[in-house]
């Protein structure tokens, strides 16, 4: 589950990251948002939506997105850190 602050709501963590980056020599960065990532193994994927809405995200202030992965692997990304 990817959980993000809803658009239009101040995200102080994102702002702080955005402000810190130039000092570290990174430029051209915009629209930084910090959210949460919840990963879990689940027997019954039907439960997911309920779980998100009841517990994992607060729909008043957060959007969520569910990515289902067969088996327990990670979503294939274009890059991968250490």
């Amino acid at each position: 589950m990817l959980i993000r602050p809803k658009a239009g709501i101040l995200d102080p963590q994102g702002v702080a990251v955005e402000r810190a980056l130039p000092a570290l020599g990174f430029s051209g960065v915009a629209n930084v948002n910090v959210g949460r990532l919840v990963e879990l193994d689940l027997e019954d994927p039907e439960q997911l939506q309920a779980m998100c809405e009841k517990l994992l995200a607060n729909p008043l202030v957060e959007d969520y997105e569910v990515q289902l992965l067969e088996e327990s692997g990670h979503a294939g990304g274009n890059g991968r850190g250490s």
Binding site: P5, I9, L10, P12, Q13, A16, N58, L60, V61
Partner: protein, 226 residues
């Protein structure tokens, strides 16, 4: 008059709340895992870090068995006060409108703040008059009150904005300087600052918070006077 102070794993200010409630009446601790509210006359959900505040402050606590009973108690018109983490739990449980987000300054901040009583006619604030200034400690990292503009306006119109930070005291960035709100019916009240810590000049910087507990006692013993 008996207060019940609801304790979750991770609650921290439950003894402080108990002490404050005992200044004006009887009080006992209620355990999150028990459905019974032991026949108390009013509920206090204290500050702290229920379930470590993991995921989101209050998100896990709202599912405790005792919370089901609290929701029913509130539906019956019972008085429910949520302080700090308790406010967060009440918002998560949808007993109060809005949500509490990370402070605009991103840091836990412990500071004596000044508040203005906006609505002195609730069961929780009847011992104050509107416009009174209070000095009460606040301490939290997720205290920025947020609601949609429509909701905020409806709250203002309906007298649900009960306390505001005085100018210069809103360190968490709450919308419209809101520090404490009640539900439409007026029997559920949440605030981020800690009135239970302001019951004695010696340790609280003032005794301004005790009147919240006094108001609750009056409201329970003499509901007609409201």
């Amino acid at each position: 008059m008996k207060f019940g102070v609801l304790q979750f794993p991770g609650s921290c200010d439950e003894v402080d709340a108990l002490q404050a409630a005992r200044r004006v009446g009887d009080a006992e601790l209620l355990w999150h895992g028990d459905e019974s509210l032991q026949g108390v006359d009013a509920i206090v959900i204290p500050g702290g870090f229920s379930y470590g505040d993991y995921l989101r402050a209050g998100a896990i606590a709202r599912f405790a068995p005792a919370m089901e009973s609290v929701i029913a108690f509130a539906a019956d018109g019972g008085l429910v006060l949520g302080i700090c983490n308790g406010f967060q739990v009440l918002c998560e449980a949808r007993l109060l409108p809005g949500a509490l987000l990370v402070n605009a300054n991103r840091r836990f901040t412990c500071r004596q703040v000044e508040l203005e009583v906006v609505n002195g006619d609730t069961p929780f604030t009847r011992a104050y008059t509107a416009g009174t200034r209070l000095s009460i400690p606040a301490k939290h990292s997720w205290g920025r009150f947020h609601a949609e503009q429509r909701t905020l306006q409806a709250m203002e119109d309906g007298g649900q904005v009960v306390l505001r930070y005085a100018p210069g005291h809103n360190f968490n960035g709450s919308a419209r300087d809101i520090a404490g709100v009640c539900n439409e019916r007026g029997n559920v009240f949440g605030l981020m600052p800690h009135p239970e810590h302001a019951i004695d000049e010696l340790t609280g910087g003032s005794a301004d918070g005790i009147k919240i507990f006094e108001s609750m006692r009056t409201s329970v013993s003499d509901p007609a006077a409201a």
